[in-house]
């Protein structure tokens, strides 16, 4: 491992101008972590100030932020008990007074002029995660075998590492910079590996909880959104009760996602962690029927509410036969199955829809023993919104697909379905639309043989629950998507109820944001004006990997359960990565939390040194060019100009064991033997570097030769003795 250079204690790189905003954060972080603020009240105020200054640093602050910081700093400065709190309060106040225009410029321009705040920017994978997990840090920790620490890092932003490790739609992997070189890092699978390991080792634990603050919050809905909000509020000391209509927790994670993708134990184990924090669950209680807002407020003393009811209603096909013949809605079928009703829905099942829900229903039907399972979708395979991997797995298991098929009517006799009347479709351009739409081809009618129809054409939010809340035209609950507050003060909402049917990780991100919003609301702290910028949790050293290894390691294939088993049981299909695979994945990671791809190294090598060794084509998001780290050594002379100009110490040059080593976030790009001074033994640099210097000297017209085996000092000494004219090696400057 290499020890990468770290930031100084103020969180700044000494070579760059300091930023008072950044400085304030570092100071506050230091005091909070250092334990000097021993009283919960002063620590809490310091945390509130830190959150507000973080908003300023990341361009999320509004006009009320600076007055609020001033007020809180004033409170801290007047702390009756703690000298450390008074000192900190005064420092924050003075810093703000002295550099007010810098703070104001961060608020107004949403920018840090010194770049100091930017240099602590999260990696693209972290930025992409709707929950904002510090991916490079936990990937590196897993690579080091430190699973429990990895889980702690993940749970700072997402209380469901295991669930997400199995079912997340992984936006992080789409933005992963390694994908621009070959394939993205298996971030999702690594998370599942660490969670399973930490649980099995007994090291999956809850973080310390704040003292109870005596305030009560009611959460409606025990899906990922509701439970996440409950988790972060419980950690802050709130008394949280979750009201859930069903007899069990998990929401769509349990009642939608089938067990072959997400075993029940995974949900149960992670939900149990919330119960350990004192979160109360009230199952079998339908909000609006069994209990009302007024009762909860007036009789039970809840002050704030978080509505995370998801999207439980389904759309209808609105075709003849739909009402007469008992067809099933996919999410009801999946829910009943999750709650224990595992009857085969029919022998020959037809599923209408092209999304993940249709695929889940089809693959479940196969496992329940249906003889034929067909998915009818009105567009072509390319437009199917379902995951490509899911579609492939469904096909492997025997699901048939009928594309460009439009439903016309459900046919039946005596209340039973006997077939499905369809028409073939073609994709045509409609006037005024840039999209192709499926249009039925006249006379192309045909009947599909089936005895059961399952519809999976989308869900919607139940508008009968909490009708007083303002809705959007999509019938979702209207909120401010930064703080998640609704039009009713003290009522917050997130998850599918707000965005429509979406994903687990978005519900988690929304739940976490709502917890922050609720906490600020209770404490009368201004809400941010922009969505959160994820918090970097650590700056870990990089894992050292030679360029050749970095290039040849491949993304691991996920092992799957044998197809015969998959057709007959609900056993988990993805068997998970092994230890060797996850360690190698960590070594493939580029550590984009440290290398920000600013391109200064490339520029200096190409434009100032005229060498152009750093062909790092993956830096470009829109037009990445193929990169091979192995080729850098062909031209690199080991001068170190790139490292000197790297604002974040991502590029480093070190002389070690007789070699000069250039590495980028642990990837060894070049390793050259060092030449030592013949006279005194001092390091002169690698041979290529000395040749380069000599050529440069000659190019500027000097006829004086550099002595390539004697250092400048010894040459000077010699010249003093002999009186000869000597040219010393020019200094390399960036």
């Amino acid at each position: 491992m290499t020890e990468s250079k770290t930031l100084n204690k103020n969180g700044q790189l000494s070579a760059y101008p300091p930023c008072p905003v950044n400085d304030a954060i570092a100071r506050l972080e230091g005091e909070i972590a250092g334990g000097a603020l021993s009283h919960p009240r002063s620590r809490r105020i310091a945390e509130e100030i830190r959150d507000l200054v973080n908003d300023v640093a990341w361009g999320r602050a509004g006009n009320d932020h600076l007055p609020a910081i001033e007020e809180l700093a004033g409170k801290l400065a007047a702390d009756p008990e703690l000298d450390a709190a008074r000192q900190l309060g005064k420092q924050v106040k003075n810093n703000l007074a002295e550099h007010r225009e810098v703070f104001e410029s961060h608020v107004e321009t949403r920018n840090c002029a010194t770049g100091a705040c930017t240099r602590l920017a999260p990696a693209p994978c972290q930025t992409a995660c709707p929950a904002g997990i510090d991916v490079p840090t936990y990937v590196t920790l897993i690579g080091m075998g430190r699973h429990a620490e990895a889980i702690d890092i993940i749970r700072k932003d997402n209380p469901f590492p295991w669930v997400c490790g199995l079912v997340c739609t992984r936006p992080c992997e789409f933005m992963c910079v390694r994908g621009r070189i070959d394939t993205s890092i298996s971030i999702k699978a690594m998370k599942a590996y660490a969670a399973e390991r930490a649980f099995s080792e007994g090291t999956y634990t809850n973080p310390p909880q704040a003292e109870p603050n005596g305030r009560k919050v009611c959460i409606v809905g025990a899906g990922p959104g509701g439970i996440t909000c409950a988790y972060y509020l419980a950690l802050k000391g709130y008394e949280v009760t979750v009201i859930e209509a069903l007899p069990t927790a998990g929401g769509m994670m349990l009642t939608g996602i089938p067990r072959y993708r997400l075993p029940r134990e995974v949900i149960d184990r992670e939900v149990a962690m919330m119960e350990d924090l004192g979160v109360q669950f009230r199952f079998g209680t339908f909000f609006g029927k069994d209990v009302t807002l007024e009762e909860l407020k007036e009789k039970e003393g809840f002050e704030a509410f978080f509505i995370a009811i998801g999207a439980q209603r389904c759309w209808n096909l609105d075709i003849p036969g739909e009402k007469e013949f008992a067809n099933i809605k996919a999410i009801h079928f999946l829910r009943d199955m999750a709650l224990g009703i595992r009857r085969r829905p029919g022998r020959r099942v037809l599923i209408v829809g092209g999304g993940n829900v249709a695929i889940d229903a089809a693959r479940s039907c196969i496992r329940l023993g249906c003889e034929s399972v067909t998915i009818a979708y009105r567009r072509s395979r390319d437009e199917m919104p379902a995951d490509v991997e899911e579609v492939e797995q469904a096909e492997e298991e025997g699901v048939h697909f009928e594309f460009l098929t439009i439903p016309v009517a459900i046919l039946g006799e005596n209340g039973k379905i006997t077939g499905f009347h369809c028409q073939h479709a073609e994709l045509v351009a409609r006037e005024g639309s840039s999209r192709l739409s499926p249009v039925p081809i006249e006379g192309s009618d045909f009947i599909m043989d089936c005895d059961q129809v399952i519809t999976a054409i989308g869900q919607r939010v139940d508008d009968e629950v909490f009708p007083e809340l303002k809705r959007t035209r999509r019938n979702t609950i209207e909120v401010n998507t930064v703080s998640m507050d609704t039009d009713i003060p003290g009522v917050f909402s997130a998850g599918d109820a707000v965005i429509g049917p979406a994903t687990v990780v978005e519900a988690i991100g929304g739940g976490k944001r709502a917890a922050e919003g609720i906490d600020r609301w209770f404490n009368h702290i201004p809400q941010p004006k922009m969505p959160p910028v994820p918090v970097r949790r650590r700056r870990l050293e990089c894992i050292e990997v030679p360029a050749a290894t970095k290039m040849t390691l491949k993304r691991p294939e996920m092992p799957h359960l044998a197809p015969e088993r998959r057709k007959t049981t609900f056993q988990q299909v993805e068997l998970g990565l092994d230890e060797h695979a996850v360690h190698d994945e960590a070594r493939r990671c580029l550590r984009c939390d440290i290398c920000l791809r600013c391109g200064k190294c490339i520029e200096v090598c190409r434009d100032k040194m005229d060498i152009d060794a750093l062909k790092l084509g993956y830096f470009d998001f829109d037009h990445p060019v193929k990169t091979d780290f192995r080729k850098i050594a062909d031209r690199c002379i080991g001068c170190g100009a790139c490292a000197m100009n790297c604002p974040n110490h991502a590029m480093t040059i070190t002389d070690r064991d007789g070699e000069r080593i250039l590495s980028l976030c642990g990837t060894i790009l070049n390793r050259q033997p060092l030449v030592h001074c013949r006279e005194c033994g001092a390091i002169m640099g690698p041979r290529k570097y000395l040749d380069f210097v000599q050529k440069r000297v000659q190019r500027v017209g000097s006829d004086i030769r550099i002595t390539r085996d004697t250092c400048d000092n010894c040459l000077r000494k010699k010249s003093a003795v002999s009186g000869a004219e000597i040219t010393t090696s020019p200094k390399i400057e960036g």
């Binding site: 920017a121 936006p171 192709l436 004006k529």
Partner: protein, 71 residues
């Protein structure tokens, strides 16, 4: 001519949307490039919000009329 947004597709936020889900902070996204990460997993509804990961600016649900495909 496009059909619908696909997962993994590169897009640009090229204009403000008139949709009510467009919030003032989203004005800062105009001109940014990103990748579609969740197109609309149930039906290809042109009015559905799609999940886009924007370079350096996080993952958001945006109305489709604010986006255009880059490839």
């Amino acid at each position: 001519m496009t059909t619908t947004f696909r997962r993994g597709q590169h897009v640009e936020v090229f204009q403000k949307s008139s949709d009510e889900s467009w919030e003032p902070y989203m004005d800062h996204f105009i001109g940014l490039h990103g990748i579609i990460v969740d197109p609309d997993t149930s039906i290809n509804d042109p009015s559905a919000l799609v999940e886009v990961s924007l370079e350096g600016k996080g993952t958001h649900r945006l109305p489709q009329d604010s986006l255009r495909a880059l490839e």
